[in-house]
């Protein structure tokens, strides 16, 4: 059975974005999610940064200070090996949650 983890959605979004982008700063992650989801999903800064710092504590992402394209200094986050494993697990889990939810919605 899929772990019933709807709150884990934010983690999944961040992990997936970093996996697509390779390495990105917080603001870039927000923009990426907005753009890819056609502005359907809007991640708030107040949730993003605590989540990023938590994932760094858990060793899923690592961070370093780099210069952006617009030559600003920013903190860039990237997936670690553990983070990639985590992403795979979460993705599989999420798909099952979605299946489950859909099954319930279709039930009439």
């Amino acid at each position: 059975m899929a772990k019933n983890d709807l709150q884990g959605a934010l983690d999944l979004l961040i992990l997936k974005s970093l996996s697509d982008l390779g390495s990105m700063h917080g603001f870039g992650i927000i923009l990426h999610i907005e753009r890819v989801s056609d502005e359907l999903l809007n991640v708030e800064e107040g949730s993003l940064y605590p989540a990023l710092h938590r994932m760094e504590q858990s060793g899923w992402v690592r961070s370093d200070w780099r210069v952006t394209d617009s030559s600003r200094k920013a903190r860039f986050y990237a997936l670690t090996a553990a983070g990639k494993k985590q992403l795979a697990a979460r993705q599989k889990n999420w798909e099952q949650v979605v299946k489950g939810v859909q099954a319930i919605l279709r039930f009439a």
């Binding site: 800064e45 940064y49 605590p50 504590q57 858990s58 690592r62 200094k73 903190r75």
Partner: protein
């Protein structure tokens, strides 16, 4: 790993802080740039970016919280902040910690004692494997018992020594006094008679020399080889190295000291400490009815107590068949043969302290728990008052962005710090307290040796108690403090808005709790004090004061048994003629000393047991017991004359009823050394207490000492010596007997002291419950005074308005006193109900009192009422003297 980097960076907090700030700032700028690209002007763009973020301090805190190392450092910051707060109000801090230390210390001290008496394992190898064999339900008083740990006769032990499949090894032991030094000046020390396997099965290595082994059992009679305990070796033998030539004077003879046991080993009796161990011996003519050994074994792997009990249960019929004593009637022998053995755990040793004091200690633990509860209620009020005084501080911190969770954490941390401080001090306090308790259990004759150590159980207990107190006194005030609305708090200033009903209700509840619980404690204290007083003032029906007991042993005189009766008569005659001695009498049983002697008797159709004492003609005069009817004993009542008996009223009631007792025939049933006999009652005496003040009066029959069966005679005598010259008479008797009978063992004790010694448990309960009752009352005074003063400060305006509107002083005082009266009433009603419930636990410990003693309840109520009135009078007077102008202006 990130976490190590963080911990490494602990000292670099400012760097980490800056990183988070930088990250935030860069993010804001990027967002602002995007906003500007959408066409906003720079200021608007920055503002919109900030709005998305919310409170930056809160944001930072939330990010930091994810950082284990940083949140650890935050905790340290909170601790520093709390400590700073404590130093700012040292009075509050000191009171809180002292109250907690007293409460936790008292609880820990009692628990420590329980731990030492009950829970701790013996310092031997694999203590959990040790099991003791006992007859299920005991021997029902059959035969002759010899001390509290005597469950086996020698023949029974010999059987078990041969058949013990569940045990890898078995041993027998017995406690007995040993006299060291010369006879006259001999000193009694604690002896431990052990079978050859004892030290080997327990796994005790020698500290010096060697310990007793099976081959040492050969020689019989007086001990010829001994092993010293470490403390005896250190204190009595100077701690000199043991050589094959090391000897010591035991019972007047020089014996070899084989070795010394390790310092931790005290024997098997918790509360005692043996001095000398010596090998047991099997005498040629074994007395099969004497129970004097304890038998233990070490379970083989794969055997547990249940299986071992099964084995010994199956062994029992054959065992008791072959070891049955002779000389009893058929019923007694049948009863003996029906006994069954079982195995009981012995890993924590044996101790009659357990049966004597366990319920007292548990009750004391409950009492100290209640004291702690009162202390907690008191502290909760203190914390609440402190929290409302700090409302402004809390409000400012919240307005500046501190989260409610953070505030709650801060407040809980403060109470935890107090609890930790109290617990540390309490554990330190518990040490001397429990030592004091152990000392108070000792008597003039006997010292309790208990190693009081702070082991993990004690520490765990203290930690649990501290956590519980913290939860009780800290949580609600913290929740109240953290839920304060910053705007209201800032507006209304330090004093807040009066009539915050909910908060007052909590404080009233705390005061009511205190009153109810202290009612229980006061009732308990009064009950135990009165019970002790009842015991102390009880008239046992015989003279208590000015009586010395002399125990004389004259084995060295080598008398023939048939001459012993006459020798004892002469001996008492000598004692009686010593100046200062009013009277003296020899007896086989010292009353109220705990020891008993019974025979089965039948009078007419009634058959039952009666206590028996063999006393000389002067006994009743010496002990101040009047003769009710008939005659006393004379020197002519010897074994050559008709056998006569003097009985007490309980005997008459039980065996004779309303008929004339004088002239009745009493048949005594046979037992070893005491053949069947028929006595004629020649006199009656009033009821006297026999072995124990608490016990109901029992039937007692007195036989002239000279009519003691010759077989039962022995070279020892207990002589009751009445005098009015105080303890000086002992010196006189000692010096006279020393010169007249060199080689006689002399030992003296004070009769009344001995009786008091049996009441140490009652004394301890009376003193401790009294102390805790007073402490509870004191805490109620402090609590009530504090809360009322606080109420009045909060209601200054209201009282000011009342006075301004014409309320008289009396009315203001009444206003405050009504408050007290209401709390007092509810508290006392609750307290009485609780006291009645709790009283049932104490019933068995009370003497001459019922737990629902009306006078006690009334007295406790009155005491509490007086205390409450006194505690509230001062705040009430202060309120009535309030200057209305000043009170209203200060708003």
């Amino acid at each position: 790993m990130g976490i190590f980097r963080r911990i490494w960076a602990l000292g670099n907090r400012s760097k980490l802080d800056r990183e988070i700030e930088d990250e935030l700032r860069e993010h804001l700028r990027m967002r602002a740039e995007v906003n500007m690209a959408k066409g906003m002007n720079p200021e608007e763009a920055m503002r919109a970016a900030r709005l998305r973020f919310g409170n930056p301090a809160m944001f930072k805190e939330r990010v930091e919280e994810q950082d284990a190392a940083l949140s650890f450092e935050n905790l340290l910051r909170d601790v520093r902040y709390a400590l700073r707060g404590f130093t700012k109000s040292p009075g509050f801090t000191a009171v809180a910690i002292i109250i907690l230390a007293l409460g936790i210390g008292a609880n820990t001290a009692i628990f420590q004692l329980l731990d030492a008496v009950r829970l701790r394992s013996l310092p031997i190898q694999q203590p959990q494997e040790l099991a003791e064999l006992r007859i299920i339900d005991g021997n029902h008083g059959l035969g002759v018992g010899n001390g509290p740990y005597s469950h086996f006769t020698i023949p029974m032990w010999q059987e078990v020594r041969r058949h013990h499949d569940p045990f890898s090894g078995v041993f027998a032991w017995h406690q007995a006094d040993v006299i060291i030094g010369r006879f006259n000046y001999g000193k009694h020390v604690q002896g431990l008679e052990v079978s050859g396997e004892f030290f080997n099965v327990l796994g005790i290595p020698p500290w010096q020399g060697r310990l007793i082994a099976p081959q040492d059992e050969a020689g019989c009679g007086l001990p010829s080889k001994v092993v010293a305990s470490y403390s005896f070796w250190k204190t009595q033998m100077g701690g000199q190295p043991i050589t094959p030539n090391t000897t010591i004077l035991v019972e007047g003879r020089s014996v070899q000291v084989l070795g010394v046991t390790p310092p931790s080993f005290f024997g098997l009796v918790v509360g005692d400490r043996f001095d000398l161990a010596y090998p047991t011996c099997i005498p040629p003519n074994v007395r099969r009815e004497v129970f004097n050994l304890s038998v233990m074994g070490r379970l083989k792997p794969g055997w547990d107590l249940a299986r071992a009990s099964q084995y010994f249960g199956a062994l029992s019929p054959g065992l008791f068949e072959s070891t049955a004593p002779t000389g009893y009637n058929a019923d007694t022998v049948k009863q003996f043969k029906s006994f069954k053995l079982a195995a009981y755990p012995a890993g924590s040793g044996v101790s009659d302290l357990r049966t004597t004091y366990e319920s007292s200690l548990q009750l004391l633990l409950a009492i100290t728990g209640l004291v702690l509860l009162i202390a907690c209620a008191n502290l909760a009020n203190l914390m609440l008052a402190r929290a409302s005084a700090r409302q402004r501080e809390m409000a400012i911190r919240m307005a500046l962005g501190a989260s409610r969770r953070r505030m709650l954490r801060q407040l809980l941390l403060e109470s935890s710090l107090l609890a930790i401080g109290g617990a540390v001090l309490g554990v330190a306090l518990a040490q001397p307290l429990s030592r004091l308790l152990v000392a108070s259990l000792g008597t003039s004759q006997y010292t309790v040796h208990l190693a009081i150590t702070t082991d993990w159980r004690v520490l765990l207990f203290a930690a649990v108690v501290a956590t519980l107190t913290c939860i009780i006194f800290g949580t609600i005030p913290a929740m109240r403090g953290a839920s304060a609305d910053p705007i209201i708090a800032l507006k209304s200033g330090e004093r807040g808005i009066a009539g915050n009903r909910e908060r007052f209700a909590f404080q009233r509840l705390m005061v009511i709790t205190q009153i109810a619980v202290s009612m229980v404690l006061l009732v308990g204290a009064l009950l135990f004090v009165r019970s002790y007083r009842n015991l102390m003032t009880l008239d046992p029906g015989l003279r208590e004061s000015g009586i010395a007991i002399g125990y004389f042993g004259f084995d060295e005189l080598k008398l023939k048994p048939e001459n012993e009766a006459e020798f004892k008569r002469q001996l008492v005659e000598v004692v009686r003629n010593i100046p200062g001695v009013q009277n003296a009498a020899v007896t086989t049983n010292v009353p109220l000393s705990g020891s008993t002697w019974s025979h089965g008797v039948h009078v007419g159709a009634i058959e039952d047991g009666s206590r028996f004492t063999y006393a000389d003609p002067h006994y009743f005069a010496t002990m101040g017991i009047p003769l009710l009817s008939g005659r006393g004993f004379t020197d002519a009542d010897t074994n050559k004359a008709p056998l006569v008996l003097i009985v007490n009223q309980a005997f008459v009631r039980k065996f004779i009823g309303t008929a004339e007792p004088i002239g009745q025939l009493v048949h005594v049933m046979p037992e070893p050394q005491y053949p069947a006999r028929t006595y004629q009652i020649v006199g009656t005496i009033p009821d006297t207490k026999y072995n124990d003040l608490r016990a109901d009066t029992q039937p007692i029959a007195f036989v002239p000492a000279a009519q003691l069966p010759v077989e039962a005679q022995g070279p020892w005598a207990a002589v009751m010596i009445a005098s009015n010259t105080g303890p000086g008479v002992i010196t006189a008797v000692r010096s006279t007997l020393e010169s007249k009978y060199p080689g006689m063992i002399l030992r003296f004790a004070d009769f009344q002291q001995g009786i008091r010694d049996n009441l140490v448990g009652d004394r301890m309960m009376a003193m401790l419950s009294g102390f805790f009752g007073l402490l509870a009352a004191l805490l109620v005074v402090v609590g009530l005074y504090g809360v009322l003063s606080y109420f009045i400060t909060r209601r200054r305006n209201e009282i000011g308005i009342r006075i301004a509107l014409g309320a008289r002083r009396g009315q203001v005082i009444a206003l405050v006193m009504w408050d007290t009266a209401a709390m007092l009433l509810i508290g006392i009603v609750l307290g009485v109900a609780l006291a009645l419930l709790a009283g049932r636990a104490a019933t068995a410990m009370l003497f001459g009192l019922k737990p629902y003693d009306l006078a006690t309840l009334a007295f406790a109520t009155m005491l509490l009422a007086i205390i409450a009135v006194l505690a509230s009078l001062l705040p009430a007077l202060k309120a009535s003297k309030l200057d209305p102008v000043a009170a209203l202006r200060s708003e």
